[in-house]
């Protein structure tokens, strides 16, 4: 297991989990050698930053050897429950949620910050969990789709998704719901234009966009997340 302080050095901005996914500074990589999207193509191969990537984004063994399975102890609060975990430095937050905590509601659609299916709330902000290393999330408060309902009662935006056919195939739904929840917490009664603006990073290939926006507006009209 790696010492936490060293991990902080290694990962540069890793101790600031509130940094949004959109902040390019949040990515530790050499821009001259490859784009961030290429970099993120391999599943959670993030610590191999700057290494040569093949056509299918598989980091070369040389870049990974030695450090690949190093682990770090982190603390997370997930849906209100404290979790102490030893995570591999190369694991993404999405992997840890799905594989270690069995919170499989968070979906991985692209693993490269394109689709938004993996969106969770980190300290109240929507982030792409596929593009956050788990070690960066140390100390963070995480909410996933499993944490939206309270005592078995759906949140207003979940109810609105049920009533207005928010999910078609349902694979993007958890991400849409998390971003919508963050929006409604700051803007309890958004217009459809405001909803579109907020949800622009959540793709839906069923292209059920109209129904999703209608549902979020509907949830707002119900009074937001009282």
């Amino acid at each position: 297991m790696r010492d936490k302080k060293k991990r902080g050095d290694l990962l540069n901005k890793g101790n600031d989990p509130a940094v949004k996914y959109a902040d390019p500074k949040n990515q530790v990589l050499n821009d001259k050698q490859q784009s961030r999207r290429d970099f993120l193509e391999g599943s959670g191969a993030a610590v191999a930053a700057g290494a040569g990537i093949s056509a299918f984004g598989i980091p070369s063994a040389k870049a990974q050897s030695g450090s690949s399975s190093a682990t770090t102890a982190i603390n997370l609060t997930v849906n209100g429950t404290q979790q102490m975990l030893d995570v591999q430095d190369r694991w993404t937050l999405a992997e840890v949620l799905r594989d270690q905590l069995d919170l499989t509601g968070t979906k991985i659609g692209c693993n490269r910050s394109e689709c938004g299916a993996c969106t969770v709330l980190m300290n109240g902000q929507p982030v792409y969990a596929c593009s956050q290393l788990a070690v960066w999330a140390d100390g963070a408060d995480i909410r996933t789709v499993e944490g939206l309902a309270t005592n078995g009662e759906l949140s207003p935006v979940q109810r609105a998704f049920v009533a207005n056919n928010g999910p078609q195939c349902g694979f993007c739904t958890p991400g849409q719901l998390m971003t919508a929840t963050a929006l409604l917490e700051t803007n309890p009664s958004p217009s459809s234009e405001e909803v579109k603006e907020a949800l622009v990073g959540n793709l839906c290939r069923c292209s059920n966009y109209n129904a999703i926006v209608e549902a979020v507006v509907m949830a707002g009209e119900e009074g937001g997340l009282a």
Partner: protein
């Protein structure tokens, strides 16, 4: 918004009411279990090694370092795992046909040598976690002998073109003969001789990846000689049969489980190579294997809509009567013939003289295959732009031109019903067509120009065989067993509603069991616009059978149950059964930057009786938006020098996002033609057919230039305006 015109239809108790999906709570709480969400004890993770070259012979492969990596438990390659993937390449693209698959000339294996596109599979590993599997794949050493490659279908048919197969690049038809697909009705030469004017033009359309949100994956688990396969399949019955055949098993030795799946749009029909790779790895390793494709692997390794080149020649009289239609076209299939390569649209016209010749062509691009209405959106884009152009050139309103020339029922070819006139006139009125279209295309002053376009279609709504089982217990609770998987349209809710209606019980009293071949009877699969009609009709018949038993024996008591089942073989009494639609769109083109914005969109459909208005509305809206994306954004571009794909992925293919989405007004004209369950037809595929044509026509109407290459991207508009 959506609304309905019901023609003499009595309202029903359950059907026709806006109904939340019966699994909506699972879908909004994260409880819905998709394939990647399963975990089995001892499960390994698989990873595939893929070709970085568009065409290469594999000279040698060395897996020793990969095998030595701690955690690696199986490595399979083209040398030691030669499994035929029957559905991966079929003579004539004829899926669902075992003899054709067996006779296929150019068979596809799970790993191929030579590799024929960037992304073709070479080998796979299974390891204790996915990172080790990735690392192991990177340790496999392959020596390639690069071969010349070809990307464009017309170029591929030149005599000196690189050959994807020794016989050449024209794909074999279903009889294994290297011939184009030809349809010859009447006599086009006579028709052209009759014409006052003849128009010739060429159109081309791009590769559209299905791009469903859930990338391909498969979890294989052998229990002795039985294979349990958790896989996102649009047709579990077909997937089971194909997998059994490919692995040399009996159908009953394979169980396919697909509880929830993240879309497919035709990408997840039959079995997929991932199923066979996972099964082979699992058999070698002796434990379950989860094979996950990355987004890029899914984009390049699975399939999308075939790119086409369409050359048209149309003969027309001065009064607007079309006398002859001819199309010679090419479909780029990639190096494997997964599906037909069809180009539809001409059959929507009644012209008595029609000649159509389509050459499906092998190239070294990624594989083409079915995508929602496989042959139609690109074909309708071509023919309806062609006809719209002809209409304006002879000074006619395209709607009038269509009403004069569209196919109508004849004595020889009767329809079960025909509502295209009504669909079109309804759309004209709702959209205010006369006010929005520019009689003189491109006549707006200034750089920002508006225009309106229209398109129309008819599409298959045929009946066919499927199965259903309904059970009732002594508590008068019903259980419906149907082999659907619910790819997204809401099939299990639809099936539940049909059962509830037929049984005269509330939907809440019907439990639906789905998505498991060991528990459910045969279903046609959610492809080809068949589930609502065919499995729905089986549900009705099974319910009727159960009601007969109840009438006979009374309700069961104690631990008794009664079971009704049905596998109907319905016909349409020799009549053609179609659904109908017309789309109207107004666009605004900023000719300074080439951008196209949708201002108003009206979609009118006749899809028989609508079972669930909520989900039907969103089938049309979602399909329309996919069609708009196809019209103006999506493509998979290749670098002609290297043969490398340039635009895989959501960003690069520029998929529409929330901010690009217009309101789509949907209107259904409801009828019951007496066929299908309570008169239901189909909606899921039909909605995507019309947007490319309507948007193309609207852009031409706005800017006064016909855009002949789809997607109609900004650079193409700027080029046309320059």
């Amino acid at each position: 918004m959506s609304d309905f015109t019901r023609q003499g239809l009595e309202p029903l108790r359950t059907i026709g009411n806006d109904t939340p999906r019966i699994d909506a709570i699972e879908r909004v709480t994260g409880q819905a279990k998709y394939t990647r969400d399963w975990k089995l004890p001892g499960m390994l993770y698989g990873k595939v090694l893929r070709s970085p070259h568009p065409h290469a012979r594999l000279v040698s492969i060395d897996t020793s370092e990969a095998e030595a990596l701690p955690g690696v438990q199986a490595v399979i390659t083209y040398e030691n795992a030669q499994v035929v993937w029957g559905a991966g390449s079929v003579n004539g693209g004829r899926q669902y046909n075992d003899p054709t698959k067996a006779a296929t000339v150019h068979r596809r294996y799970i790993f191929n040598n030579p590799v024929r596109f960037v992304g073709d599979s070479i080998a796979a590993v299974a390891a204790t976690d996915r990172h080790i599997a990735e690392e192991a794949v990177s340790l496999i050493k392959v020596q390639y002998e690069e071969l010349p490659f070809v990307l464009e279908p017309e170029e591929a048919l030149q005599a000196d073109a690189p050959k994807v197969y020794p016989e050449g690049n024209l794909c074999p038809d279903f009889q294994g003969e290297f011939k184009p697909m030809v349809s010859d009705v009447g006599d086009v030469e006579v028709g052209f001789a009759d014409a006052d004017q003849i128009f010739e033009e060429s159109y081309d359309t791009g590769f559209i990846h299905n791009a469903q949100m859930e990338p391909r994956c498969s979890l294989a688990h052998w229990q002795g000689d039985k294979l349990v396969l958790y896989t996102p399949s649009q047709g579990i019955s077909n997937c089971r049969h194909d997998t059994a055949r490919d692995l040399g098993l009996e159908d009953h030795q394979v169980q396919v489980i697909a509880q929830y799946m993240g879309g497919g749009f035709g990408n997840k029909n039959q079995n997929q190579d991932a199923d066979l790779v996972a099964a082979t790895l699992s058999r070698r390793a002796g434990v379950p294997v989860m094979l996950e494709y990355s987004r890029r692997e899914d984009w390049l390794g699975v399939h999308g809509r075939w790119p086409t080149v369409q050359h048209y020649k149309i003969g027309v009289k001065n009064d607007g009567e079309v006398t002859a239609m001819q199309m010679r076209a090419y479909s780029g299939m990639g190096p494997y013939r997964k599906n037909s390569g069809g180009i539809g649209g001409m059959d929507a016209y009644g012209c008595p003289n029609r000649y159509r010749e389509i050459s499906p062509v092998y190239t070294n691009r990624t594989t083409s295959g079915n995508f929602r209405a496989p042959s139609e959106p690109h074909g309708f884009f071509g023919i309806e732009n062609m006809m719209d152009d002809v209409a304006y050139k002879i000074g006619m309103d395209p709607v009038e031109f269509t009403l004069k020339n569209m196919r109508r029922p004849t004595e020889e070819r009767p329809f079960t019903n025909y509502s295209l006139d009504e669909v079109i006139s309804d759309g004209v009125e709702r959209f205010n067509w006369q006010a929005r279209r520019k009689v003189v295309p491109g006549s707006d002053d200034g750089p920002i120009k508006r225009g309106a376009g229209f398109s129309f279609m008819m599409f298959r709504a045929g009946v066919g065989t499927s199965s259903a089982i309904v059970r009732v217990n002594s508590n008068q609770e019903y259980t419906l067993y149907v082999g659907v998987t619910d790819i997204g349209p809401g099939a299990k809710t639809t099936m539940g509603m049909i059962a509830a209606e037929a049984l005269g019980t509330p939907l809440s009293n019907v439990e639906v069991v789905w998505g498991d071949t060991d528990r459910c009877p045969y279903s046609v699969g959610e492809s080809g616009s068949r589930t609502t009609i065919m499995t729905g009709l089986a549900v009705v018949e099974a319910a009727e059978e159960l009601k007969r038993q109840i009438a006979d024996k009374g309700m069961p008591s104690g631990s008794e149950v009664l079971i009704g089942s049905a596998t109907p073989i319905p016909t349409t009494d020799g009549k053609t059964r179609q659904c109908f639609g017309a789309h109207f769109v107004e666009v605004e083109v900023d000719t300074r930057v080439g951008s196209t914005k949708i201002l108003k969109y009206t979609a009118v459909h006749e899809s028989g009786r609508i079972i669930n208005p909520t989900t039907a509305r969103d089938q049309i809206r979602g399909a329309t938006i996919q069609g708009i994306g196809q019209a103006i954004h999506e493509d998979l571009l290749y670098d002609p020098r290297s043969g490398q794909p340039l635009t895989p992925g959501y960003y690069r293919a520029r998929h529409l996002t929330h901010k690009d989405i217009p309101d789509i007004d949907v209107h259904f004209i409801e009828v019951d033609d007496g066929y299908g369950p309570f008169g239901a037809k189909t909606a899921g595929e039909s909605g995507i057919i019309l947007a490319p044509a309507a948007v193309g026509n609207a852009v031409a109407n706005a800017i006064g230039h016909r855009m002949k290459s789809m997607p109609i991207t900004r650079d193409k508009i700027l080029g046309a305006m320059a």
